[in-house]
Symmetry: C2
Subunit: 221 residues, 2 copies
DNA sequence: GCAATAGTGTCTTTTAGACAGTATCTT
DNA sequence: AAGATACTGTCTAAAAGACACTATTGC
């Protein structure tokens, strides 16, 4: 039997969003071999003829599979080896990305059997994923949480205009625990990433001031 | 002209060490095309037949090129695209690693024209490196500094037994600035990574207590 | 007024920075 | 004793945590 000369290269993405104040990740049910019928992170093979980078591959796959365009993907790490994919020696470059919570329903499944927003919380028994995607999801979640713990604001998960309480709920959903309101506001007040608006949300209580992300906001370190 | 079907995959490593209390990185002068004669980070092509992972590739390349065995390599990120290498669509997985300062001279150049420990400090005008290795070196340095700023101890850079002052000098070399002795010791005292020894270094002054890394020490986050 | 959520004030604890002071060796 | 480096103590400043308090709406 001939040995492989080239590895099989794919880009996978852990796409996170918030649904009902809970952190969720997008899973797809694979419609092709290998691992047909199993759940996995959305991913696909590099096409050197049309991709200008692996990030480009990941973005194209998301566009094709679920018709969503993510401007910025963040690298997590790569996974590689001869045994992690039945097709032979393979490399997966893992990315993560954040989808605004108000766009969570605007997904169209095309090339996949099914799509699901799956909770990521500790207690909830996660789905068993194909390939090494359980480890991939853990790695992506760890990077995301690390960023937020280092006080990066996950503004990409929020609608264009949001309240500070909404932001806090989002941070809590990512970290998996509550944070103190006073300390939280003290920290983010004066952040160059936040722009105060002159608009308020009205409900059956005191109105909440709206904010937006500053124009040059980026979630990077 | 036929389009490439497979990318060219390599693993590059930024191997850091300390020389005269200065952070240095290992550079090699390339003896083959492309970029023959230019300086670069040590790297080489994946060999699916013998490598069990890209980390394995990086380790093998270091062993072959400079006869040094690095047990643990840390991923930085990958670089990919159609134009970064003259051979066509390529992927480089970048790693970084730390070589103990007392092993800095034990390098044997075999397949490369020349090997050099090059300073990394801000002011010193660095060498211009081949491919995108300038960006790679910057990325690796950023990750290394980030770890140390987050209070990881770079014990891999030190000899088996070392003094706290030696450790502080190493941290300062990585960060590029001095740190306060009192605060530094307060922080690391009681660290599970450090084991106090009953040995002391004698010189023309008060003896300094020796320490070693604990058995289960790892530089990871 | 009450319920509900927005938003602030303040006390305490922890951590880091600055820097002076003491300790122990060789010569 | 002098010189050198190891090591410690203490004051202060900044940040984080806990938690009570006030503010503004709809009903």
């Amino acid at each position: 039997m001939e040995r492989v000369l080239y590895p099989f290269v794919t880009a996978d993405t852990a796409l996170f969003s918030i649904d009902e104040d809970e952190l969720k990740v997008l899973l797809v049910r694979r419609s092709n071999a290998p691992a047909k019928g199993e759940w996995a992170l959305p991913g696909g093979a590099l096409k050197p003829a049309i991709d200008t980078s692996l990030e480009d591959t990941a973005r194209r796959v998301l566009r094709d599979k679920i018709s969503v365009d993510i401007p910025h993907l963040e690298q997590v790490r790569s996974f590689s080896g001869p045994d992690r994919d039945a097709r032979g020696w393979s490399i997966s470059q893992l990315f993560y990305a954040l989808l605004p919570r108000d766009k969570i329903d605007a997904l169209v499944k095309t090339k996949v059997e099914a799509v699901e927003w799956s909770p990521v919380a500790e207690g909830s028994s996660r789905r068993r994923l194909a390939f090494d995607h359980d480890a991939q999801l853990s790695a992506a979640l760890k990077v995301l949480r690390g960023r937020v713990e280092q006080h990066a604001l996950p503004l990409h998960l929020l609608p264009q205009r949001f309240t500070l309480t909404g932001l806090q709920r989002t941070v809590e959903a990512i970290l998996g625990h509550e944070v103190d309101k006073s300390a939280f506001r003290r920290r983010i007040k004066g952040s160059p990433d936040l722009v105060e608006l002159d608009e308020y949300v009205r409900g059956a209580q005191r109105p909440a001031q709206l904010f937006r992300a500053s124009d040059d906001f980026s979630f990077e370190a």
